[in-house]
């Protein structure tokens, strides 16, 4: 497959994952703000911004409505949902012949939805519905991607984009919450409970968590669930396992010798999550552990690009 095509499919998928993540975190933050106790709006907004990588131009100014609006619609702000959807569609448009008609139509519809005057009105009347319909669009796209596309290299690059983004953003989220929430004394006011549910909902994992641990929320278990669960799709370990599967599949179908650095890089992260207990993580430096996950995801991204997309001609000729 052409490197440019792989690049576009990867970013199409990565941007949509980012949009989905942003929608959920924004939704959760705004609903947490309805409960005025526990923490200030400013603190919650700042936490959201830190989890999204501190995008410029969205610093707290007291006007939540305007901030949320630019978070959703400001197509010039790289953190906005519209920007991510636009970027995903731009990437899809450039590989129109590689993706299925169903995929294209879903994504196109989502794009037009973000740009229709209707959605602005919907936003004013009920922001939760508006965000939910965006999420629906993204879910539909993922569904048809899995059911209408050959599960070849192109599909694997789509999965790489999705799961690397997910691992990275979930690690960032946990890092932010870890500083904020996990060091506090247990409090029974109910606000901490709300915050913890919020964290789980940011990863669509509240119900899944309850199935595994019951509704007894404790920071350590949440951390264990979102970090180390091997069966839950939004857990970091699950995402890293999928990244590993996709890279193995790409290497199997390609004719080149598997790049050792990449195999080692992904293996290291996989082992780190597979052979560490939550006890060790909590007893050690948790923040560093989370930070390490992020760094390694970035490294894997760079290695993928170095081997599959931006390789030098000289290196390709000598292989």
């Amino acid at each position: 497959m052409l490197s440019r095509v792989a690049d576009s499919l990867y970013w199409m998928s990565r941007y949509l994952e980012r949009a989905e993540n942003t929608v959920r975190q924004l939704d959760v933050t705004m609903s947490l703000m309805l409960d005025t106790g526990g923490a200030s709006d400013e603190m919650r907004w700042n936490r959201l911004m830190t989890a999204l990588g501190k995008p410029p131009g969205l610093e707290w100014n007291g006007d939540l409505d305007a901030l949320a609006r630019s978070m959703i619609f400001d197509s010039l702000n790289r953190a906005s949902i519209t920007y991510c959807v636009n970027a995903a569609r731009d990437n899809a448009r450039q590989v129109r012949e590689e993706i299925s008609t169903e995929q294209w139509q879903r994504l196109n519809r989502l794009y037009h939805q973000m740009h229709s005057p209707h959605v602005q009105t919907q936003f004013r009347s009920n922001i939760n519905d508006a965000l939910a319909s965006v999420l629906d669009g993204i879910h539909l796209f993922k569904g048809v991607s899995d059911t209408t596309m050959i599960h070849g290299q192109g599909w694997q690059f789509i999965r790489l984009g999705r799961y690397l983004e997910r691992a990275y953003s979930t690690a960032t989220l946990l890092e932010v919450y870890h500083l904020d929430l996990f060091h506090r004394e247990q409090d029974h006011s109910g606000y901490q409970y709300l915050e913890l549910v919020g964290l789980l909902r940011c990863c669509t994992s509240f119900e899944a968590y309850c199935q595994v641990y019951t509704a007894d929320l404790s920071p350590d278990r949440i951390l264990e669930f979102l970090l180390l669960n091997r069966d839950f799709p939004h857990a970091i370990r699950y995402s890293v396992d999928r990244v590993r599967d996709s890279i193995e599949s790409i290497q199997r179908t390609g004719g080149r010798r598997p790049p050792e650095e990449l195999t080692a890089g992904i293996g290291r992260l996989h082992a780190m999550l597979g052979y560490t207990t939550i006890g060790e993580i909590v007893a050690g430096n948790t923040a560093e552990f989370l930070h390490n996950i992020r760094e390694q995801s970035m490294l894997i991204h760079e290695l993928i690009y170095r081997y599959y997309v931006h390789y030098s001609i000289q290196s390709a000729l000598t292989i």
């Binding site: 497959m1 052409l2 490197s3 440019r4 792989a6 448009r93 450039q94 129109r96 012949e97 008609t101 294209w104 139509q105 196109n108 290299q153 690059f157 790409i250 390609g254 004719g255 080149r256 599959y308 997309v309 390789y311 001609i313 390709a316 000729l317 292989i319």
Partner: protein
Amino acid sequence: MSAGHPTELETLFGDYPLDHAYDEMREAGGELRPHYRALAEALAKLPPDELQRRKQSADLSFLTQGITFTVYGRDEGTERIFPYDLLPRLITGEEWERIERGLTQRIAALNLFLRDIYSDAKILNDRVVPRELIYSCKHYRRQMRGLQVPRNVYISVVGSDLLRLNTGEFVVLEDNLRVPSGVSYMLTNRRVMKRTFPQLFHSYGVRPIEHYPQLLLATLRSLAPEGRPEPNIVLLTPGVFNSAYFEHTYLARQMGVDLVEGRDLVTHDNVVYMRTTDGLKRVDVIYRRVDDDFSDPLIFRSDSALGCAGLFNAYRAGNVTVTNAFGTGLADDKAVYAYVPKIIRYYLGEDAILPNVETYLLTGEKERQHVLANLDKLVVKAVGESGGYGMLIGPQSTARQREEFARQIEANPRNYIAQPTLDFSRAPCLIGNQLEPRHVDLRPYILFGDKVNIVPGGLTRVALEKGSLVVNSSQGGGSKDTWVLE
């Protein structure tokens, strides 16, 4: 048409005007041409709003399939569907046979002409075509001199525009020897048409065209460099902002070849490679949809980012086939066009089967004065343009436009030609709920590899504005399916 109580046919036609222009469906007296009778009767039998319903369903089908072209001039370039007329244009087997022979002859001669011009230039030495005409052509590529092209085929993908005059005879208006487009509309029109009028289609015995992508692939494969039995064939597109991008993706998908952009290609030791996730993969044949000028910044326009640096040298070395060859625009220059009948006679010793439209070159003093005096009756065209740009239609022009063109002609007579305003044929189109005649042309698609191949039919383009003579999609034209009958 019978007198008295209006028949279903008469209702459908309403006041369908006939005049001196050839009508594809009706003879001068108003009777239906025999091959159109079944179509007209089938349409007349449909309930009144059924045609509209089918039209809407066809439109929707185009939109959801994303069969669009890009219109420039807005911020982002908007995507529109190519307007489509529901009624097929019919061509009898006999008429087609003549068109096919005529085009085969013409393409063979033009190819020999290109080969001659870029090697010994005998035709210039024999003074059949004036030397200054060739060397002043902006599409002449000095770099192609003495270069051996695979199988001596310069033009392997051609679309020539035909018109039918009021005598009923087809003439060639122009040849498109660079990067002709529109073939995807021909193919998708047919697909939609088969769904819209299945029984009618079946009863007519229409010759198939759906194998065009396969023929194109076979043509490209036949031109692969020697020693490359399993050639890697790619389609080179300028990218997503090109107005024909849909067609590029469509053809690549239908042929099962990679759609590449210039930035996907690299050259090393005069071999072209594409960057894949599996390393560099050698490219053997490039079906090029990028103009000469933008193909290789080292040889042609240095500011182009659409091509691939080093492509031309790889081509010159015979390591990659690029088709159409570079410099073929020379032979579709509108002034060279005037010489095509002579070119056919010179190389093949035959008379042209499909005649030319009478054309005035403006470099001669006498002809130029005649044209300048009659600008209001003639059509003036810039020789190197296409797509309906750079054109003056005398009878529909204002005095100011004519003055402007007169000034430009005086300044650069080589850059213009003039032709009589042609009353070319009209075919019935569905306008509202009635049939009305609109001007149509015909662009058959010719492939030339091992031999000349023409799928029966082509793209019939329609000037959807009443009375308009301009069929180009960039200027508000539409298209309809073309049925060549057994």
